[in-house]
């Protein structure tokens, strides 16, 4: 293993975040916090409890998950897309670095950023709504797994994208709707039976449900199924990334 190369890629990516703190850290924390202010503190007080949890507190896991999904995908996607766009990817591809090491460097940095943001958003949420964490290790496991998996997903999008429009199309047109419709703001038990069944095809439901369970012990789907779902998505992304490097898809030739 070329650990030094992994560390070099990782630090370079983290340094890029350091150069754009306002955009990379402050903006997502503030925009997510606005949800707590509006839906938690302002409107939330007029909405009745869901599964015995106050509405303001109920939406926190969903909002944290939404922010982590969006940030993981966009950070990892731009991380590999930008070198492709500027041509500097030649240096990565001509270095004595394996595909696995490249993935660890880029995905590790993107996941780290998401985790930092997740912790910051949770800390901010605690100012506006009462929070409890019944299963802290499970919460941490969901945070890490989701950050890593969706960073890997973003990395794949970054390799696949041929232009900036394609780079944004998946986060904006797929990830955001799936997150909004995945139970960030409601429990799927409030939906009519038909739509409950349809919603179960949305993978984000399993993430939010499992993550919410780690806070309040209540979930829309079994927590075990949630874990299997995210692990399955992780393995699928890993397989696609492996195939991309093996064939040189949109990287070589």
């Amino acid at each position: 293993m070329n650990f030094r190369a992994i560390a070099t890629i990782y630090h370079a990516e983290m340094a890029r975040t350091g150069r754009t703190l306002m955009q990379s850290v402050l903006a997502p924390v503030i925009s997510t916090s606005l949800y707590f202010v509006v839906f938690g503190a302002a409107i939330g007080s007029r909405i009745e409890e869901i599964d015995g949890v106050g509405y303001g507190a109920f939406i926190v896991p969903g909002l944290v998950m939404m922010m982590i999904l969006m940030q993981s995908v966009s950070n990892a996607a731009i991380g590999i897309y930008f070198p492709k766009f500027t041509g500097t990817v030649y240096e990565i591809l001509s270095a004595p670095v394996s595909a696995f090491e490249i993935v660890i460097g880029y995905v590790g940095a993107a996941a780290t950023k998401s985790l930092i943001l997740g912790v910051l958003v949770l800390a901010t949420a605690a100012f506006f709504v009462p929070l409890e964490v019944q299963h802290p290790f499970a919460m941490l496991a969901f945070l890490v797994l989701t950050s890593v998996t969706f960073s890997l997903f973003g990395f794949i999008i970054g390799i696949w994208a041929d232009n900036f429009e394609q780079l944004n199309i998946v986060p904006m047109l797929i990830v955001t709707p799936l997150t909004f419709l995945g139970g960030s703001f409601y429990s799927i038990s409030v939906l009519p039976p038909f739509w409950q069944t349809v919603t179960l095809f949305n993978p984000v439901v399993y993430l939010i449900s499992g993550f919410r369970w780690s806070f309040y012990g209540v979930s829309d789907v079994d927590v075990g199924i949630s874990l299997v779902a995210i692990l399955g998505f992780f393995l699928a992304c890993l397989a696609i990334a492996w195939w991309m490097f093996r064939t040189g898809y949109r990287l070589k030739n």
Partner: protein, 308 residues
């Protein structure tokens, strides 16, 4: 000279069906400067890309210092530095950070003294903390060379290193290349400036339409394939070439003051003695004479043009 790069039966056909390389065989000697010449689209960059890991070969093998580029990619790539043709560099970091990044990427421990030396050699030390986007085009190109040298490679690929740089910078790059050669670094360069290859390269390879047309020591190539021209300055200008001399391959200069005669130095008889005798018979008196060697560029055009 022992071989450091061995290329055997190397071919590359891209997905669209374009064949960039057709069963190329080539040996590059350790410590030499090898110039790869060829017109646009000849396959130079594809060949470099395959050796460096940027392009997957269709068939054939390449070994670097005895290691296969696909199976032992860590060993081969750690020996190679690449300066690509395009200006591909992260504009938002400092010069020093960019060079340190390259060194780390190749798995080398930080060595501030070495990085300092590389930057000083390339006259970049004063700009070590400057953002790359603030540098001139020539300096950016030098940063790319510094990045390629950051991991102390044994082999350096320079793909059009002096394209678009001014004369002064080109001279300084030649000096850098000369110093690298003194340190034993093998240098493979592609260039459109044929005189660059003529002055720098130990050997020249000409590639056209994916095939190696010729590989030869620069001097030997020019000696073997080049022609010499004898120019005779006449004491009295001529309005036309005398009939008696028309069969001798002579050419009258536009101003009528000189005669040109091309000859092959490798031929058994150059024809110069006979020519001088015939000029004497024709009553022409010669005031001065000089000979000139055809340039590598003329040889290159002849080789590539003949194949085109």
């Amino acid at each position: 000279m022992s071989s450091i790069i061995s290329i055997s039966g190397l071919s590359k056909t891209y997905q669209g069906g374009f064949t960039a390389l057709k069963s190329v065989d080539l040996e590059i000697g350790k410590g030499e400067i090898f110039a790869l010449l060829g017109p646009n689209g000849a396959g130079k960059t594809t060949m470099i890309g395959i050796i460096c890991g940027l392009v997957t070969p269709t068939t054939g093998t390449v070994t670097v210092d005895g290691h296969d580029i696909l199976r032992d990619f860590r060993q081969t790539r750690s020996r190679i530095g690449l300066v690509p043709q395009e200006m591909s560099i992260d504009m938002f970091g400092s010069v020093k950070a960019a060079v340190s990044f390259s060194r780390g990427l190749f798995g080398k421990a930080p060595d501030p003294a070495y990085v300092e030396q590389v930057l000083k050699d390339l006259s970049l030390w004063d700009k070590k903390d400057s953002e790359i986007r603030a540098l001139s085009g020539g300096m950016k190109r030098r940063v790319m060379i510094a990045k390629a040298l950051a991991h102390e490679p044994d082999i350096l690929f320079l793909d059009e290193p002096t394209a678009g740089v001014d004369v002064e910078l080109r001279q300084s790059m030649w000096q850098v290349i000369g110093r690298l050669r003194e340190r034993g670094v093998t240098i493979i360069l592609t260039t459109h400036y044929i005189e660059e290859a003529e002055q720098m390269a130990d050997r020249v390879g000409v590639i056209n339409k994916g095939e190696i047309v010729v590989v030869e020591e620069t001097g030997a190539l020019m000696h073997k394939m080049g022609q010499k021209r004898l120019t005779l300055q006449l004491a009295e200008p001529l309005t036309a070439l005398p009939e008696a001399l028309k069969a001798d391959g002579l050419e009258l200069a536009a101003d009528g003051c000189a005669l040109h005669f091309d000859y092959d130095t490798q031929a058994e008889r150059t024809g110069i003695t006979t020519l001088l005798a015939r000029l004497n018979e024709a009553g022409l008196s010669v005031r001065d004479l000089e000979t000139s060697q055809s340039s590598l560029e003329e040889i290159f055009v002849g080789l590539v043009g003949g194949k085109a």
